[in-house]
């Protein structure tokens, strides 16, 4: 069994989606406990991918193919996780803010968060402040993650946070922001709880904000 788990970890780290799917099937068939596969193999594999990105071994394409391998393995694992009542690390509502259609960075953040065991509700691109607020109002949300690429749409991050406050919801969720024109200073100014400069940083930030 350890061979199978090792091959799963390697397949995710190296972005081999087909091999990852094959290994997760073999692990489940061999009787491995779904929660343990996620916790002890897949999450550490994505942590390793994040580490390789941070230290400059991996770039966007390597991150994307690893995230793809993780996603395909997770799709096979998820029904079993639900059946065994394994809880996610937290629930994140993510989206690119109003007026902005760019999503490569946001998608990568979503995939990395899923890879870290979070449940992600991806609202897509051009998401109005109202939509973010409605998603939070629905309940069960720990974090919202706002993304922007365009300088011109940056103000919509602040509008979203203001609307959460007006709705009395700001205290109920953590707010994380990211994207090319964003930085720490701006995150503080607009009242976010944190800024991450890339997808690996977003995972660390999300973990910190939910106290995981």
């Amino acid at each position: 069994m350890q061979d199978v788990l090792d091959s799963l970890k390697k397949a995710i780290e190296e972005g081999q989606a087909k091999d990852a799917a094959k290994a997760v099937r073999a692990a489940l068939d061999g009787g491995a406990e779904p929660g343990a596969i996620l916790r002890d193999v897949m999450v550490p594999a994505m942590d390793e991918v994040g580490r390789r990105y941070e230290c400059g071994d991996y770039f966007l394409p390597e991150m994307l193919i690893s995230a793809r391998a993780m996603k395909e393995a997770l799709a096979l694992l998820r029904p079993r996780l639900v059946a065994t009542d394994v809880k996610p690390a937290g629930t994140v509502v993510a989206g690119t803010v109003k007026g902005d259609l760019h999503d490569i960075g946001k998608n990568l953040v979503c995939m990395m968060l899923e890879g870290a065991g979070f449940e992600v509700r991806d609202l897509g691109v051009d998401v109005s402040p109202d939509k973010f607020v409605d998603a939070v109002r629905g309940g069960g949300v720990n974090l919202i993650a706002l993304s922007a690429l365009l300088t011109t749409t940056l103000p919509n991050m602040k509008v979203t946070i203001e609307l959460l406050k007006a709705g009395g919801l700001r205290g109920k969720v953590g707010v994380m922001v990211g994207g090319a024109p964003v930085n720490d200073k701006l995150a503080t100014e607009i009242g976010a709880d944190g800024y991450a400069e890339d997808a690996a940083g977003a995972v660390a930030l999300a973990r910190r904000l939910v106290g995981a």
């Binding site: 972005g15 966007l60 394409p61 300088t151 024109p181």
Partner: protein, 419 residues
């Protein structure tokens, strides 16, 4: 000293009375139409509709009086067909989303959907699926990904061939006539917007100018395919480079020595923190083709090769230089590793910096006029030393940028020579 002389000297790394200024010679050194409208009005040069010369990013086509007043030293010769695949001719009124009166080409065909988003049709063909979306309240179009289901067994780089075509006789006549006219009638440095060496430019992956793009068109998947389907990507790159090489020869025949600068590539290789791909992948997939194209230019012309890549590209600059790049744009100093003094010290003898004049993500749109002046002063001091610098903002001047900041920026660049 006129603009052409000023740019020539800067390209030869000789100091000039002030840095040459570019505005609007390319679609990456321009100004948002709405900002242009306000600037022009503030200059007392009229409030007539703005000609939107680049509909994708909704950029203004500069007019002669504005060029003169701001001290612009360049003029671009653009491709007569734009990103959405129709010709820039037959102008008609269109009001920008923020109410600015504009003029757009005859084949600029749009619909507003139930969300209030504006959708545009490729080649002006309403029978096709829209290829661009301008979100309600937004300031640019973005490509709509029209991705047919992919059959991995049948992926063929030749699906992309329609995107790379030989110049038509009509295009070549346009280039020849325009370059002759601008060279004879103006004293600007002429910039040739070739762009066809932009190997695998992500902005063109969705094929916004095509009626029905075939093959891989989803930018998210594209970045994965660089690693998982490298042979397919290489095949597309090879087709593109072959056509670009053939078109370079045609371009040389009609442009001659009238242009100073050839805009070769707009492929973006940098994110805010690091390159978008590893230097190893760049060396494998891009560098040999860039070298072939740039070497051709250097062997056959006096043109300087202009290379646009946003972002943190410092780890790739040695490879750019080895591949024959002469001019780097937009010099995004806010990105990691792109410190102006370091770049100038390390690459000032090999690269001309065309851009980097002021940040457009923070300082110019959100700073005070005094902060803009201070940054411009600093950048001119660093990049301008010994020539090798053409002043331009880091990428286009964005919508909603305060007029006061734009005017302060140009005043500062034109300020009398400093001690």
């Amino acid at each position: 000293m006129n603009g052409r002389e000023r740019v020539r000297k800067a390209l030869r790394r000789e100091e000039t009375d002030r840095p040459p200024i570019d505005l609007g010679s390319t679609p990456v050194t321009g100004i948002a139409a709405s900002t242009y409208y306000r600037v022009r009005k503030a200059l007392g040069l009229g409030d007539h509709p703005v000609t939107v010369g680049e509909p994708f990013q909704i950029l203004a086509e500069l007019e002669e009086p504005v060029r003169r007043v701001l001290g612009v030293d360049t003029i671009g010769i653009w491709n007569p067909t734009n990103m959405f695949g129709f010709r820039n001719e037959g102008w008609k009124p269109w009001t920008l989303p923020d109410g600015t009166p504009g003029l757009v080409p005859r084949d600029f065909q749009v619909d507003v959907d139930a969300n209030g988003d504006t959708l545009i049709y490729p080649k002006g063909d309403r029978a096709a699926k829209p290829s661009g979306r301008l979100p309600k309240g937004g300031y640019y179009f973005d490509s709509i990904v029209r991705q047919d289901p992919i059959d991995e067994e049948r992926l063929d780089p030749r699906d992309w061939a329609e995107q790379f075509e030989p110049y038509s006789d009509e295009d070549l006549r346009y280039f020849e006539d325009t370059s002759r006219r601008l060279h004879a009638e103006t004293d600007y440095a002429l910039v040739g917007n070739f762009w066809q060496g932009g190997i695998g430019d992500i902005a063109h992956v969705p094929g916004p100018g095509l009626t029905h793009p075939k093959g891989l068109r989803d930018p998210n998947l594209w970045y994965e395919y660089l690693l998982t389907h490298t042979e397919y990507i290489q095949g597309i790159f090879d087709i593109q480079a072959d056509v670009a090489l053939a078109n370079l020869e045609l371009y040389r025949q009609v442009m001659g020595d009238r242009i100073e600068v050839l805009v070769m590539s707009g492929t973006d290789f940098g994110g805010q923190q690091r390159p978008l791909c590893s230097p190893r992948l760049f060396d494998q997939l891009w560098k040999p083709l860039y070298k072939e194209l740039n070497d051709w230019v250097h062997r056959h012309t006096e043109w300087k090769v202009f290379f646009h890549s946003c972002g943190a590209v410092a780890p790739l600059l040695d490879a750019f230089v080895e591949a024959g790049v002469d001019i780097l744009n937009p010099v995004q100093c806010s990105a990691a590793g792109m410190d102006p003094a370091t770049l100038k010290a390390k690459y000032g003898d090999r690269l001309v910096f065309w851009g980097g004049g002021v940040d457009t993500q923070k300082t110019l749109p959100f700073g005070t006029a005094e902060e803009v002046r201070a940054e411009v002063r600093e950048r001119v001091r660093i990049f301008g030393r010994g020539g090798g610098f053409v002043f331009n903002t880091v990428h286009n001047i964005q919508a909603r940028t305060p007029t006061e900041n734009v005017l302060a920026m140009y005043e500062e660049v034109r300020a009398p020579a400093r001690a």
